[in-house]
């Protein structure tokens, strides 16, 4: 049974529908207990980082999701759901410094630059279908200087303090699960994006996309995956990806 976390921000049905179409049993729930004990968890995403974290904390969902991931339950964060996997996010942050996230992956989610390295302007939000390019498994690799630098300047020493604790979740063992969420999907396939904020570069990056800058569009931390694009809105390719996740969840 896959639990789709409902944090009252809409866009839940399409995700549930996509997982069900791939043969999964799906429960949409706000309940921390249900989430903590799920076989697999999907955290869909719309809205802003700070609002979403606040709602999740109020409902106890942040701890529930971390508990599920900690015991190795397969996890998929979509769009904002992927952002929340990181240490912190700048979107709609209040007070000083970015809002702490679930803290599985280091780095701060920041606004996408409106210009490329040569100063050429790009339209933001990044809306539409863009190519998703896989990153060799040796890890890291993509030049992501612009946003990393920006994340560095405004980020947060303020979030550093609690981070070591939050990052203590080790990647869960993989077993014989498929190597990739992208099995059967060629590098360069197009997926639907709609966002203004991007994740920082880290060792967790498994695929990148290029708009004004090249940014991580898929990440992996053990059995926890995150994608910046919307598989539930990405036609055949998206359905394939959801089916890969469902198969992975079944084997785990």
């Amino acid at each position: 049974m896959i639990v789709v976390v409902d944090y009252q921000k809409g866009n839940i049905r399409s995700v549930a529908r996509g997982l069900e179409a791939a043969g999964a049993q799906v429960v949409v729930s706000q309940d921390a207990e249900v989430i903590a004990h799920a076989d697999a968890v999907v955290l869909p995403g719309v809205g802003a980082f700070a609002d979403a974290m606040r709602t999740m904390e109020e409902l106890g969902q942040d701890e529930a999701v971390r508990a599920a991931i900690e015991r190795g339950a397969p996890f998929l964060g979509i769009c904002l759901g992927m952002h929340l996997m990181f240490e912190a996010g700048e979107e709609h942050a209040e007070g000083d410094g970015p809002t702490p996230g679930l803290g599985l992956i280091p780095g701060v989610v920041c606004r996408m630059s409106r210009t490329d390295a040569e100063g050429i302007p790009y339209k933001i939000p990044h809306v539409g279908w863009n190519a998703v390019n896989s990153v060799p498994t040796s890890g890291g690799g993509c030049a992501h200087k612009a946003s990393s630098a920006r994340a560095g300047t405004s980020s947060g020493r303020s979030v550093r303090a609690g981070l070591s604790e939050r990052l203590s979740i080790a990647p869960a063992a993989m077993g014989d699960a498929p190597q990739s969420l992208f099995e059967g999907i060629p590098s360069g396939e197009h997926f639907y994006f709609t966002h203004s904020y991007i994740a920082p570069e880290s060792d967790a990056t498994i695929a990148t996309t290029t708009h004004s800058v090249t940014f991580p569009c898929a990440v992996r931390h053990g059995a926890a995956f995150g994608v910046q694009f919307h598989p539930e809105k990405s036609s055949d390719a998206g359905q394939r990806l959801l089916a890969n996740f469902v198969r992975f969840a079944r084997k785990a």
Binding site: S14, V46, K123, P125, V127, T194
Partner: protein
């Protein structure tokens, strides 16, 4: 590289597609969901349902359509038309719409854009602008509201800029001069708006031939192109349009 989008638009009244659809092999040519699924198969990048329902009582039907669409469609969809308040928009987003497009109500009260962007995110709010060339002026266009019936005296480029500043995620720009003319997009208008704002611009109004789509991108500098009747009547397929755009060197998802 981000591809340029091709977007079929359906006019919907009481939950049914109006203006007729001439597609073969559709069980129900008036069903917006079935038509949208057909467009998905043809590689449309998203779809727009434009609600032309007359009375607010019938809005429930459109909310129901949005809800059914979120269950059935595997591509993004926008619902446009008839939004008067944030509460109206909330109902549609809660039903599952990825985006809403607001027009007259935003002109009347621009803070609606700000409020909606804050509540649902910039990516969910499209500002639709119906613009008509000012007689005698070389490059000036006026905003019209109420389905093109009322002139506002507002400059279209300035309004697009304000909409973007207030948090709109995209502009859906319709040339009233070209709408229904089959002479192609008003590329001067589209370019003026596309250069004035830093958010994506969807060109609409006037498509009659295959090459008009590429013109909207290359000359109009649009990020996406929208059309209705050429697709519904089967004159052109999404695939033909995308192949022609690709021949012109435009990145598309084929």
């Amino acid at each position: 590289m981000l591809t340029k989008r091709v977007i079929p638009c359906m006019d919907v009244r009481d939950g049914r597609v109006v203006k007729g659809v001439n597609f073969v092999n559709l069980r129900d040519a008036g069903d917006p969901i079935e038509l949208a699924q057909r467009y998905d198969e043809e590689r449309a990048d998203e779809v727009v349902f434009l609600d032309i329902t007359a009375t607010s009582d019938d809005r429930a039907t459109t909310v129901e359509l949005a809800s059914r669409a979120s269950e059935c469609l595997r591509l993004p969809y926008t619902v446009g038309g008839g939004f008067r308040s944030v509460a109206d928009i909330r109902r549609m987003i809660a039903a599952g719409a990825d985006k809403v497009s607001v027009n007259s109500a935003a002109v009347k009260d621009p803070s609606l854009i700000t409020q909606a962007a804050r509540a649902f995110g910039t990516q969910a709010v499209i500002v639709a602008i119906d613009a008509k060339r000012v007689a005698g002026a070389r490059d000036a266009w006026e905003v019209y509201v109420s389905g093109g019936r009322s002139a506002t005296g507002i400059d279209a480029v300035a309004w697009a800029r304000e909409a973007a500043r207030r948090g709109a995620g995209e502009v859906l720009l319709t040339s009233m001069d070209r709408d229904g003319s089959r002479e192609g997009f008003d590329c001067a208008l589209t370019r003026a708006v596309a250069r004035a704002v830093d958010i994506p611009v969807i060109a609409s109004g006037g498509v009659g031939r295959l090459e008009h789509f590429a013109q909207g991108i290359l000359e109009g500098e649009a990020d996406a192109v929208l059309a209705a009747s050429v697709f519904h009547f089967g004159e052109l397929t999404i695939r033909e349009v995308k192949e022609d755009m690709a021949r012109h060197g435009i990145p598309v998802r084929l």
